[in-house]
Symmetry: C2
Subunit: 372 residues, 2 copies
């Protein structure tokens, strides 16, 4: 049993006419539903809140279970709870689902109230800053004006970084794990392959596939590519090696024969059941376009006015968001005389290490939070 017991997802609606949210694209958009969960108790002084942001395929269900029978706790249950990395005895943890996804917060698969149909491609282009604006609205709704910390890994870490830029007064500290101020050309290239696989699937139907099977093959292939980039070559070798599946007379020569093949196929298939292909397009584009240096005319300039204390964590074998990208941020912060701690954790789990190196991460995060 998770020590957080039974948790419940909650939601809140804002940006209704005439108070629609102005997006980076210039478009005014709303209404927006935000799905979120909270763990722990808000202190009377309202000064122990931590905002937790998730990665591409995550959601607001970070910890606890939805019922006694729930077979699986939230995605970071080993990190969020009593005495854990984010100690819910001390902190009030809010995990918010981001704009553009498909897990409850408004996204392309949501119903447009004006047409009573899913937005599909009429959903506006969004940025990581837009995601953060929506998260700020949630905090205001909860009556929280200061964050002890904002924390996230991967895309969650990119949002945590963005929080320090958009709302320097709100954020006392930031924990940016396995993230970047801008994606590498190679990472963009992998995203491009995934998007191509989706939009070239006839099931995609120019985005209007709701109510049909949709681009199941394309989305599965996008996920397979993604999954390879989340692991390191060494961790794949350790996990699967060159092991073959048991022989089967039904199998054709072109079928999965190595265990790693059937593992990837499984990852692809199961992703299709829980993820929306249009969300994949919108979110990966938001990630690819994120570029702090470009926006501010250099990383050094970008961090001039941040006020948060920073903890950055990278992993030695992460080749999707490689350590050098964290170091660039650290250098820019230091050249602005900002308070920054950095650890490049020795791990051969690749990008996925941020979900797997829980012990190392918990020590780093607890130590950091004790002093902010």
């Amino acid at each position: 049993m998770s020590d957080l017991g039974i948790v419940k997802a909650e939601s809140f609606v804002f940006a209704e006419k005439p108070d629609r949210l102005k997006l980076d694209s210039g478009e005014f958009f709303g209404p927006i539903t935000v799905s979120y969960e909270t763990y722990g108790k808000l202190s009377p002084g309202r000064d122990n809140a931590i905002l937790l942001l998730h990665a591409l395929s995550g959601d607001h269900h970070a910890a606890g279970r939805y019922s006694l029978e729930d077979p699986k706790p939230g995605w970071w249950d080993n990190f969020v709870g009593l005495g854990k990395g984010l100690d819910t005895e001390k902190y009030y943890v809010i995990c918010s689902n981001f704009l553009g996804g498909c897990m409850g917060t408004t996204g392309p698969s949501s119903i447009n109230p004006q047409t009573q149909k899913p937005y599909a491609l009429s959903f506006p282009s969004i940025t990581i800053s837009d995601m953060v604006r929506v998260e700020k609205a949630l905090l205001e709704h909860l009556g929280i004006h200061k964050l002890r910390a904002v924390i996230g890994g991967s895309l969650g870490g990119m949002q945590a970084l963005e929080w320090t830029l958009l709302y320097p007064e709100t954020v006392r500290s930031t924990i940016v794990i396995a993230a970047t101020s801008r994606m590498s050309t190679q990472a963009i290239a992998f995203d491009a392959v995934g998007r191509n696989a989706i939009i070239s699937d006839p099931g995609w139907q120019n985005g209007n596939y709701y109510g049909t099977a949709g681009p199941t093959r394309g989305l599965a292939i996008a996920r397979m590519v993604g999954h390879i980039t989340y692991l390191s070559s060494a961790s794949m070798r350790r996990k699967f090696g060159r092991a073959l599946l048991e022989r089967s007379d039904q199998r054709q020569f072109y079928d999965d024969e190595f265990e790693v093949e059937s593992y990837l196929s499984y990852q692809g298939r199961s992703f299709v059941e829980r993820f929306d292909a249009n969300s994949y397009l919108y979110i990966t584009k938001a990630m690819d376009y994120y570029d702090i240096a470009k926006r501010f005319g250099g990383l050094n300039k970008a961090f001039r006015n941040v006020r948060a204390k920073f903890l950055l964590v990278s992993f030695t074998s992460d080749w999707l968001f490689p350590p050098y990208q964290s170091m660039e941020i650290v250098k820019a912060l230091m050249s602005n005389d900002k308070e920054v701690s950095y650890c490049n954790v020795e791990s051969d789990y690749g990008h996925d290490a941020f979900l797997l190196e829980v012990e190392s991460l918990a020590r780093l995060v607890r130590g950091f939070l004790d002093h902010v």
Copy 2:
């Protein structure tokens, strides 16, 4: 103008009934057409022949041009010719197209003389050893019983390695560039993504797509994935950075917007015009299955009876066929007291370095050939 002037592709047919070729699968297969080209002159003593083997998407047209108007020379024209890496003044170079491809040597897109239809999936499963058996038949046809050297990069290097195992008496020396004795789990995983993209394309039609458009989208995606693995992250950054295409009002948010995206799309599209999807399935499976250590019960045992002198070359930034894989071969050869030279060439071009680091490679190869 290529210094080799006008060259001509040639072909030869063998393995006709009743002399069909016995494949590793146990199947007897034939007839087999082999496409090849030769450069330079065979010495009266027939002792200056070098067999050159190409990579996955290459062919037998390694050097020279087909006509005065031919806009492009063969794929390794800067390496094969007078005074070049393979000096055609000294050597008689034979470049053979491998079994299972789609460039002239018999493969799944070839017409099965028994049915007068393309083999498609009735083409037998093939191995890298089978490719080498076909190449041996070509040499016999040409009356060549000793090779000064066999040389290849990537899949060509895997064949060059296999030559030393299957025909130790024929091979005086072997030059194995950016190759491996078995692919990594990660490399197999990338191949699996490519194959999945092909077979999940409705245009694939269980392999019977000849005469129709075929799995154009799936094959393009397979090529895009492959292309990323041929480059290094650093070379992609240098080549494209995060540069954007010029703005276009026609473009949708999900379209290619980064230069690297449109480059990959172009690579995908142009590959479809020249490559057969079923060949892609057969050849990548042959590569994935290749595993010398498994076949012989260890690399050390595998090389016990080889007689060739070896030159192995890897490239520091090659993450598809990483240097450690070449070093494993070198160690196994040394533990058998075989003559082996090895160079890990400093290059940030990734796997593609074997086509780009021509100067370094030419120096190494010329020096090596002078002493064998």
